[in-house]
Subunit: 462 residues, 2 copies
Amino acid sequence: MPYFDAASTAPPHPVARQALLAALDEGWADPARLHRSGRQARMLLDAARETVAEVLGARADEIVFTASGTQAVQLGILGALRGNRRRGAHLLHSAVEHSAVLHTAERWEADGGAATAVPVDRHGRVDAAEFAAALRPDTALAVLQSANHEVGTLQPVAETAALTGDVPLLVDAAQSAGRLPAPDGWSLLTASAHKWGGPAGVGVLAVRKGVRYVSPLPADDRENGRVPGYVNVPAIVAAAASLRAVRAEADAENARLRALVELIRHRVPQLIPSVEVVGHPELRLPHLVTFSCLYVDGEVLLGELDRAGFAVNSGSSCTSSTLTPSHVLAAMGVLTEGNVRVSLPPGTAAADVDRFLDVLPRVVAEIRAPLGLDLPAPEPGPRADALVLDTLGKRCPLPIIELAKRIPEVAPGGRIAVLSDDEAARHDIPAWCDMCGHTYAGEAPATEYGADHGTAYVVVKQ
Amino acid sequence: MPYFDAASTAPPHPVARQALLAALDEGWADPARLHRSGRQARMLLDAARETVAEVLGARADEIVFTASGTQAVQLGILGALRGNRRRGAHLLHSAVEHSAVLHTAERWEADGGAATAVPVDRHGRVDAAEFAAALRPDTALAVLQSANHEVGTLQPVAETAALTGDVPLLVDAAQSAGRLPAPDGWSLLTASAHKWGGPAGVGVLAVRKGVRYVSPLPADDRENGRVPGYVNVPAIVAAAASLRAVRAEADAENARLRALVELIRHRVPQLIPSVEVVGHPELRLPHLVTFSCLYVDGEVLLGELDRAGFAVNSGSSCTSSTLTPSHVLAAMGVLTEGNVRVSLPPGTAAADVDRFLDVLPRVVAEIRAPLGLDLPAPEPGPRADALVLDTLGKRCPLPIIELAKRIPEVAPGGRIAVLSDDEAARHDIPAWCDMCGHTYAGEAPATEYGADHGTAYVVVKQ
């Protein structure tokens, strides 16, 4: 079954598997112990640290191993903030960071700190000057990802680092480590082994020598006092070995995957009506492409693709357990519905991508069929100057579907107020207007249109 | 090479290795994903949770998996304290808990909470009534290990739980899980897979339904909101499979190891002069025995045993990176020097124990030889009524060695003031008196004996 969800986790690299097995035999003992078994584990750990440092462009004594990328992010942010308290308690980050960053920022704010999210453009990219302009005198830490995990857009890390002066910059390199060189300019760097084909259970936190750091957790001798708990030597050995292997293969594999992704980027809008490919067209990860299909429920689409034999993921509001829209797509101002992220692991066969492009249009058409939409836009019926469309109680993507069905009834220049109590509508209706060439005129309480709750989203037909 | 350090980490059980390999193939995907690979990982994770719950006597929805036993302890304690804030901010624990507990208590105190350590007897055992008497109206959590990690003494968990009323009790079962059934009475239970022969990277935190818990870490959906970060399914599957296997074999293996430990307990004092076997003689783990050799540096002894082919560990002050005495041995009031912990993994061969008993007396004698001690006690020389013995600047075990050498010079009933600035002397000199039948008469500032710093430990010769 073709697996196109490498951005969630990559299948273990063969080298990871071999190294894990060998290290289970040779490096299972406690590296803190003085006996022979312990010393052997220690040597393997030291060698793995050297390898990871070399690939990431760090010194070995700057690297500690965590239990996950999320733990690396949490410790990196909270440790750097604690270490830089004399600067202040302000945390600056982009609006499209991984939820691990956003949740850590929320916890920091709940504990009395401050945090600011810097907006991104419609491609999901931070502007370096805008980011630097958001620095405050009390900013103790800035956080910027190397590349976005949902849409693949590369962030201007080196340019931003050049403008942020001596404020420490944490770079979350989870999506790029192994595939691309680490960007210049980081003070702290985080990554996650299972994203590059290493085993689960290993994150990396690099802290540049001289960057102040105070552990947010109870004291512990392990990992330079930065990560409490027994050190998982076999998994770390496998993580290091696979990082080296993946990095060595990356240039050739990136070129191959980039061509496959380019094919998807170009063919999907030609094959399927009312689709938007999101993310930066050029400055992006080589292996990842994301698009949104209007009038489609993302979870239904994922389920149908799974039945058709393809594993993909979605940042759609409809697939999250909390039913909140993807914060990344929302920050970009693009549609959050019917979203599909295709992220190709190394070794993906071109034939599988061809088959995906064969299956996808059929699957989308089948999902849309019962909706009775006429795509592209049907002949308009009788026109009105204004319409109130009550979609209260209906969940994404129903409000957009009803809007698309009914807009032919309105004359050009006429207004439609879509009443909705689904949080996703706040992002999706303006995004739909952008895509379809209508004007979004803002929101008002739905009570102004006679409803007892909800919000009215006002669209001007062009 | 015989490995007698199972209490640090057990060699991976063959079942752990097999299950890890299988789960790397079948369960490497993200269990939070909706596609087939994700659902398969999810099923394996659910099954592992059921297994661990069954073996530990919990419900599956009470179990979450952490990255280590230390993380389980930290989250368990801080999460329960946060969840029980309305009770107060007092944490009660025994004085001989694992350092993960003590360091978490220190962090809790640094953050404004309160903590009390309940003393233990000379065997390292808590008295249930004494423990319960230390509860305060504002006690929010009590912590007690199932068995001590340095001396193997079993704690009266069920008896204590019966006396602590509705105050939640966290039981650190790291040393007993798999080998013994979980004790009754826990509100929270923690364990560590690599201690039972599972892989590194897996801890267990069980929280009884109804026990209040508020995560101390940034928000995350995984593991019931209690453990942030990507879930390590292959390692969890291996942990569960090996727990079941170890538990199934435990009764037979415990009996076999108990006999081997009994042999060590009886033979060591017969073979080596001036040795004290510590820990409870009956209420103890089946596979662990600890003894202290007077006049010996623990690190040197470990090194010599390693050269002779035996991997053991030590709670001796001399092996710790911080040079502070073992807090467990200190709390017990026994000697902290020349300490050896023998902890037998399942499958230990009787012949290896025989060989250890053959090698150990020779190794200890060789270390003691250059000291010029005459053991057992030499004929006394000329007697004095009082002696001041200046050992300032000398580290453990030199103060005790000098004391043993010089005490023959003092008449029975005479006093020796040992001047020392080594923190270990505070524990070791009274312990030495106990062992050798002299009376420890207390301490005084060394300035009273003409020194400019340090402490005088006063011994009355019997």
